[in-house]
Symmetry: C2
Subunit: 601 residues, 2 copies
């Protein structure tokens, strides 16, 4: 089987770089220890090896597709995969024991899902969506709602989804029009259309629980009038039977990637018989949804990183095996060719992939740890973790989504023409990955979230906390000769962020909000370089400490040296582009607010 | 129909920026004038509209595929498309009258092909390959060979191909093993395997003329022992009949893009009945092939630019039509949404695409003009044009191939989730484009060609000529207030190139050839920014002159202002990344020459 991730990396991240055992002091996670965690990760790997990876290619070749009659046909293996994953706890595992979960940290749950994403990212989508939907019901629904829906979702019988997007509104949730008319208590008659609903009504589950945003009749305009509803395909009656709830799958979308993952168009209430059950209070739906959305953003970022990782592993294997060409100084054509991993340009492409994929996975795990701390810890740690998570969320979502595509492109490139053929998986990774910059808020939306909300929230407190955290890593790095230079560079980059923000905030202070935000994407790009640089510096410090303190066998030594080397690579090849972004951001005049669109001709 | 290129841009480039009429002074092109040229471009556009663009999507959905019995099934429209294009002269148009051509400049022929590439890049492949193969026979074959093959290729009845790659050798032509055993005169018995043969034996043509590299028995090892052969699928006998020549199509490659364009595996001489006809002298095959290869490299670069252009046009149209969201300062949700082209981030994505696609098309046309001058002009102009073309070829091939993918990714991004669906063409553009960085020498190979050969050729004369040419544009730009800043920046970038080369040449001088070349790709990337910046500055100077000298109607004014604005965008958003590349290149130590590959784990 083709290797798709690296367990040594995961062990390094979970036990050395971002130690999971720091969570065990909290009651919620007190039942765990490192050995148990690792057993779970290994069993997730085994599950992915046995059930998911083998179908990666065939799910692409036999895409999910609409049957013309309300159903989406999916790959025959899907049902069994979902069942097996559910049995091992990989849908409900992070829920509390009392809610039917295993009370796993998101760090552990998310790392298992990273493995699934790397093995078969379409399959993981079904599982992750269900986990998020059930979590949302658990957080904000009634006990009855929890008991009615959550166990069925955790068992893999029912599929959870999130239904936000409407054809006319797209990313602009302000403009959604799906309507809810009060029938009685928390019961509403629903009418409306939702598109791009991942995991919508397919063959592998018997019922679907759509967590849907809709507008109660008479609600205020805009996002302040949006409520959250549970809308099942079949609604459970009091006697335990199920009644069709007038949720019709009206079609699907065929896509360039993630072809095994059903993307549907749902129509609610065509026959005036669709009931939605209000979750929580009216008009607070968007706030609730953001719990799932924020989780989904971390998950999408980690998914992009995971797919980039899988492409990197395939690329690395090929480069080690493929003989071709000779070193530039070898002029004798009778000498045998070398394997291509000897070529400097191939090494550049491999290290670029490694820097992007591993750096992004490290950040994803760091964010999941912050999530855990924000739920399990006490006041000051909780508050700090939450703020850090808030400011990192747009970055953990976006950096892997954007740079992951670049990484997968390099994986194709290392395989030469073969990389473009369906004989190798890297082209599928490249295709699958492209959706990640669109899911759960596009790059543009993440960027406005970062610069417009997160950077300024609580008078810049989240940003300051992040800069302080990075500074701690910088100080630790200064202790090592080989890392002091990187520490200096990263320190300069932090100053640059502050400097650029000062420049931009002039505009905000003058009420020029459009101008302040006009290059938000470039700002996110710039700041990402520092955040990923921070993760690489942290990995390099951890590796340096390990090499200093222990006498290791050669292969383990190489693993740690590889982290230090890749950090150096990152600081030499990637980091310089942050200054280029700053140069763009420091321009006085905006070039992207033209009103004469004929200039585009 | 969806717009896929912009005739105004082509007019601007052909008649104002890189005036084609400068060629008419030479005998070869003395029969032409501007009006004729434009009529031909317009008729090419009409042909593309009528025959090519309508099949862009369906050729992707019905990919070329092997039938299991030696043939590749292609789209039913293909035969008619090739015939129509041939009738209009778009296979043989740039050949001399005496060789059955229309004696068109490559500037004109290539611009017509740009239109075809933008409309349906797979289809253009068949035409371009035939043109290149016939050109190669014309240049180096005998009169008999020319008379036997070229008219049939120009008429579209026979398909020309280039057959270089072998399974075990890949990019390393030194290692090809296809063998040729002398029978008599220029006639050889051929045996061997070739893969990735584009346009190999399909349904739309009745015969195939494979321009094939093989090794004559007893030839020296390496590239100095490679000869060029004409190997037809059916060989013409003296009586005019055709005999099957034992060239068997043994399979095809299914790909992530360019799915309508057949990619085949050919087997020569399985039954010891394959005859190849030597072209030119023995052992000089690679030199000959480089005529076709160099042309193909410009063409691939232009193709990448053309596909990026088509994606840009689709993106622009969508952004003008799609209402979504409000400006950041508009807080009232009852106000109607704006079309997304109003959003700064959308404008950033559109200008990035425009800067990449139009900049690359401008360079492609500039290179074709150099090609024409190198063929038609007299000694000093000829020599200068040839040297400029030599140094620009790796850049005109690579910049659009690499940045074009980034551009098409932005086209997807502007469409949101729709961009990822097969309902819109941008995802196909993105998939198709990815092959361009692999065709005709990968990015790594182009980069070594640039830094290892072109930069140092004739003691750096080609480079100096290029820097001088760019300097002329800088001087012209200084005359305009709005461009003087860009001129200054570009001037600094030229100094940076010289500075970086001085640093790298230390290594070459010490005999550290591997070290000199290790970051060749980063060097090409850096230098590309200046070369494309040069094209943008040239376009901006031309536009400024026009605006100064003429009173134009609003829409024409906007066209020229758009060029000046996009140049400013390029210098603000793209150019700063050249300095980042330089920072990488100026590192003392190499990080990409490791010998312990466990560091990649």
């Amino acid at each position: 089987m083709m290797r798709y991730t690296n367990l040594d990396l995961l062990k390094f991240l979970l036990f050395e770089v971002h130690p999971v055992n720091e969570l065990f002091q909290y009651e919620r996670f007190a039942h765990l220890n490192d050995e148990q965690v690792w057993m779970m990760i290994e069993s997730a790997k085994q599950l992915a090896d046995q059930t998911m990876a083998p179908h990666f290619k065939s799910m692409d070749e036999q895409p999910a597709h609409y049957d013309g009659h309300g159903n989406v046909r999916t790959h025959p293996a899907l049902k069994q995969i979902i069942q097996s994953a559910a049995e091992q706890g990989w849908i409900g595992g992070s829920a509390l024991f009392e809610h039917g979960g295993m009370q796993l940290p998101e760090m552990v749950f998310g790392t298992a899902h990273h493995i699934f994403q790397a093995a078969n990212n379409g399959v993981e989508g079904y599982l992750g969506l269900s986990a998020g939907a059930a979590g949302l019901i658990t957080s904000f629904g009634t006990i009855d709602q929890l008991e009615q829906y959550v166990p069925k979702i955790y068992s893999g019988e029912w599929q959870g989804t999130m239904a936000l997007t409407e054809p006319q509104a797209g990313s602009s949730l302000t403009d959604i029009t799906t309507s809810a008319k009060l029938i009685s208590d928390n019961t509403y008659a629903i009418r409306g259309q939702k598109i791009f609903i991942s995991g919508g009504q397919h063959e592998a589950c018997s019922n679907f629980v759509h967590l849907t945003l809709a507008r109660i009749e008479g609600a205020p305009a805009g996002v302040k009038g949006i409520s959250l509803f549970i809308i099942p395909k079949f609604r459970p009656e009091k006697d335990g039977s199920l009644t069709y709830n007038d949720v019709y799958c009206a079609g699907d979308f065929q896509k360039m990637g993630q072809r095994g993952y059903a993307t549907t168009h749902l129509s609610f209430g065509d026959n005036n018989n669709c009931i939605g059950y209000l979750v929580g209070e009216p008009h607070k739906g968007l706030n609730y949804m953001f719990q799932m959305m924020n989780g989904a953003r971390i998950s999408v970022g980690l998914c992009a990183a995971s797919v980039a990782m899988a492409a990197y592993q395939a690329s690395l294997q090929y480069c080690k095996e493929r003989p071709q060409g000779r070193m530039p100084s070898e002029k004798d054509p009778s000498k045998p060719p070398v394997t291509i991993i000897h070529h400097a340009d191939i090494q550049r492409m491999l290290f670029t992939q490694k820097a992007i994929a591993e750096g992004a996975i490290a950040l994803g795990i760091a964010c999941n740890k912050l999530y855990d701390l924000s739920h399990a810890a006490s006041d000051s740690v909780k508050e700090k973790s939450l703020l850090l998570l808030e400011i990192l969320t747009p970055i953990v979502k976006t950096y892997p989504s954007e740079h992951g595509s670049r990484s997968a492109a390099l994986a194709i490139q290392t395989l030469g023409g073969y990389g473009f053929t369906t004989d190798f998986p890297v082209q599928q990774h490249y295709r699958d990955l492209k959706i990640m910059s669109l899911y759960e808020g596009t790059t543009g939306i993440q960027s406005i979230d970062l610069l417009g909300r997160k950077v300024v929230m609580e008078k810049g407190k989240a940003l300051q906390l992040l800069l302080d955290e990075i500074q701690l890593t910088i100080e630790a790095a200064k202790q090592f000769d080989g890392l002091a230079g990187h520490a200096e560079v990263l320190s300069q980059e932090l100053s640059r962020i502050t400097w650029v923000l000062k420049h931009l905030q002039k505009f905000a202070a003058n009420g020029q909000l459009e101008r302040y935000l006009s290059d938000a994407s470039v700002f996110l790009e710039m700041m990402s370089y520092s955040v990923i640089g921070w993760q690489w510096l942290k990995m390099a410090v951890t590796a340096s400490l390990k090499l200093q303190s222990a006498h290791l066998p050669d292969n383990q030594k190489a693993f740690y040296e590889g982290k230090i080397h890749t950090a150096a690579f990152y600081f030499t090849y990637e980091m310089p582009h942050a200054a280029a972004c700053a140069s763009t951001l420091l321009a006085e005049e905006t070039l992207t607010s033209i009103s004469n669109f004929d200039l585009f001709n």
